[in-house]
């Protein structure tokens, strides 16, 4: 029975990772850059929820999504767009700078600072009993949100004109431009969607671990990037698979007392091994480098 509970918890945690990984993978696939600040957008979303909670929990979540979307678009516009087409290292360092900036802004706001805030979005969720298995409602909510988000995102990308334009931009930016696609708009839209996903992921992860602090997003962000790489970066089903795999591995490791402290190390060793054996990830496609 314990094993099933661990598995369900892993699925739920994996769902959160998958949502963050989706943001990474979409930005990576379309803008061809690693958005280091993605994890910190989750953290900012958490603080937005904290601010909005004084009014209404539902409004707080909506406010957080809107705020993160605007923030993501702003970051793309100010920091990343001027660097389009320049060396990847420059873009990477700028992204790290943005991540550092977001953290230090939260640290500098006196109401937040370095303190840990306890964020309760929905009080006393309780849990559902199926036979002998007890599953918390937070887990169920996270799973449900993950499934809805993934299905709607896949449908959006496969069947709408904008979604297909995104695929086109990710495959060949110049050719997409020749086809009359507004590449800048598509990239901005990608950042907007990615940031909204980050806000949703922040909500889900606050249900699970409600202790908010300025570095709340950095480790989940890095892990979710690992998940995106494991699944194959640039591939949307890959991000889902990688996220859920990582969540299950994490919960399984945490359930064994002896190896629980080494969970992070194990996850990253898996990442390094995957990159060694199959650098493109499980579902990634190999791309040839052209001169």
């Amino acid at each position: 029975m314990d094993f099933i509970i661990t598995l369900v918890n892993g699925l739920s945690m994996g769902g959160t990772y998958a949502m963050i990984a989706l943001g990474y993978t979409m930005v990576y696939g379309i803008a061809k850059m690693l958005n280091f600040a993605h994890g910190d957008i989750i953290m900012i979303g958490g603080y937005a929820i904290l601010v909005g909670l004084s009014v209404n929990p539902l409004l707080a979540v909506l406010f957080s999504m809107l705020f993160c979307m605007l923030l993501g678009v702003l970051i793309e516009r100010v920091a990343y767009r001027p660097l389009r087409g320049s060396s990847p290292l420059a873009v990477l360092i700028t992204a790290i700078g943005v991540s550092y900036l977001l953290q230090s802004i939260i640290l500098a706001i006196p109401q937040f600072g370095a303190d840990t805030h306890y964020v309760v979005i929905i009080k006393d969720l309780g849990s559902l009993q199926i036979g002998e298995v007890l599953i918390g409602y937070d887990t169920i909510i996270t799973l449900a949100i993950t499934i809805v988000v993934m299905v709607s995102l896949t449908l959006f990308i496969k069947f709408t004109k904008t979604g297909r334009a995104m695929i086109a931009v990710s495959e060949d930016r110049d050719a997409a431009r020749l086809m009359g696609i507004n590449v800048n708009f598509i990239i901005t839209l990608t950042f907007a969607i990615g940031s909204v996903l980050a806000a949703v992921a922040g909500f889900c992860s606050l249900l699970d671990t409600p202790w908010l602090e300025p570095y709340y997003g950095s480790l989940p962000g890095i892990k979710a990037f690992a998940a995106a790489v494991i699944g194959g970066i640039g591939s949307i089903p890959g991000a889902m698979l990688g996220g859920i795999l990582l969540g299950i591995v994490e919960c399984l490791c945490n359930s064994v007392q002896e190896i629980a402290p080494y969970t992070i190390a194990i996850e990253f060793i898996i990442l390094i091994l995957i990159l060694l054996v199959k650098p493109t990830g499980i579902l990634g496609k190999k791309r040839r480098e052209k001169v």
């Binding site: 320049s86 230090s104 640290l107 060694l276």
Partner: protein, 383 residues
């Protein structure tokens, strides 16, 4: 007169000035500490500055000259600190020497182990590049931190940290200055050598470098391992300057701090790296003692903004013409004071705006061929 000056002209002052500056400052403080004694806080600051210079110069080799991003520099430092500290512990028990010998042995072992880790992590990681390499080095740093933090009490101290026999405080910083000089000697000579040119060639265009016969993996590995070795040296130095080594110090943010120093100093510029490491360490330490909390948090915002602005200013294609018109070199040339162009070498410094990600085919194909008039119409001359 000119003949006497001739050999001096060939000296590359750009590199020599670094040795001179470090040696002079080091000697100055050595004289001060032996004549009148320095306060504890100054000694502490000097130790920190020398340690950070070693870290920044060694990271500069990877980021500035090789053009790859390593986010695990603190991880290599962590390895050096723990291994060096442990060796020092063992030595102080067995040969009860707390002197220079145990420090040297600890230094060699710590640096070697950090270098070995650099090799192990570099071998697979360097097949990848850019973002992947950054994330693998970051993962490495986290793995190292976790492993050392969860070690058992009697091996590496566990969560309480490893207690190390502290060195005599009075002259530890002199060793720091000597280590900085050694670091400079190795890294600057590497950069000026044939190997260094290969490394900068890889940064400027990896495909072109490979096409000219440069063994890209080998040179990447050389740069990576040397960088890791000196991070290990800084780690050993850390373990001697502090009485406990705690894994939580060497986190991701420490790697970012070092990266910020490299970028602010100017990528691919050793003098800049030294200056920025000194200035930022000084500012950080002074601010922490002057303003507790409160205003000190704004400095991080300022660093982050400087980082972003520098990178965008140096790389944005929209600012290219502006940059060419208003850079320091062009302004100096206008004053005619510095209007000498050195012959022989081209400048080594990273010109990031010139790094093409793809070879521009238009540029390649539209080479202006100046056909000499006489070849064009050979019979004109005869007439």
């Amino acid at each position: 007169m000119n003949k006497i000056l001739e050999p001096f002209k060939r000296i590359s002052w750009k590199y020599l000035i670094n040795y001179i500056a470090v040696a002079v400052v080091g000697l100055l403080f050595t004289v001060l500490t032996f004549s009148s004694g320095l306060p504890q806080s100054t000694l502490f600051l000097l130790e920190k500055i020398t340690m950070n210079i070693i870290l920044v110069v060694s990271l500069s080799l990877v980021v500035g000259f090789l053009g790859e991003l390593s986010l695990g520099h603190a991880g290599f430092m962590c390895v050096g600190a723990y291994i060096g500290g442990k060796v020092a512990c063992i030595l102080s028990e067995s040969i009860d020497g707390d002197g220079i010998v145990s420090f040297l042995i600890a230094l060699l072992v710590g640096a070697a182990v950090a270098g070995a880790f650099g090799f192990i992590i570099g071998l697979p990681a360097l097949r990848l590049k850019g973002d992947y390499l950054a994330i693998v080095t970051l993962a490495f740093g986290e793995i190292v931190k976790t492993v050392f933090a969860n070690s058992s009490e009697d091996t590496f101290g566990g969560s309480m940290g490893l207690r190390t026999p502290r060195f005599d405080k009075q002259y530890l910083f002199i060793i720091g200055f000597v280590l900085v000089l050694i670091t400079l000697a190795v890294i600057q000579n590497l950069i000026r050598s044939k190997h260094g040119r290969a490394i900068t060639a890889i940064r400027d265009n990896e495909i072109a470098a490979r096409a000219t016969g440069i063994n890209v993996t080998k040179y990447k590995l050389i740069a990576f391992v040397i960088s890791a070795i000196f991070a290990g040296v800084a780690g050993v130095f850390y373990s001697f300057a502090n009485s406990t080594v705690k894994a939580s110090v060497f986190d991701y943010n420490y790697s970012i701090d070092i990266l910020i120093m490299v970028v602010i100093g100017g990528m691919g510029n050793i003098s800049g790296a030294i200056i920025s490491a000194t200035a930022i360490t000084y500012i950080n330490t002074e601010l922490q003692t002057l303003l507790t909390g409160g205003a000190a948090v704004y400095k991080d915002i300022i660093y982050a903004l400087i980082l972003i602005v520098i990178i965008i200013y140096n790389n944005a294609s929209a600012l290219k013409s502006f940059r060419e018109r208003f850079n320091l070199k062009a302004l100096l040339k206008k004053t005619k004071l510095f209007n000498k162009t050195r012959q022989g070498y081209a400048d080594d410094e990273g010109k990031w705006d010139r790094v093409p990600t793809k070879i521009d085919m238009d540029e390649l194909l539209s080479v202006d061929v100046n056909v000499v008039e006489s070849i064009k119409n050979p019979d004109k001359e005869e007439m």
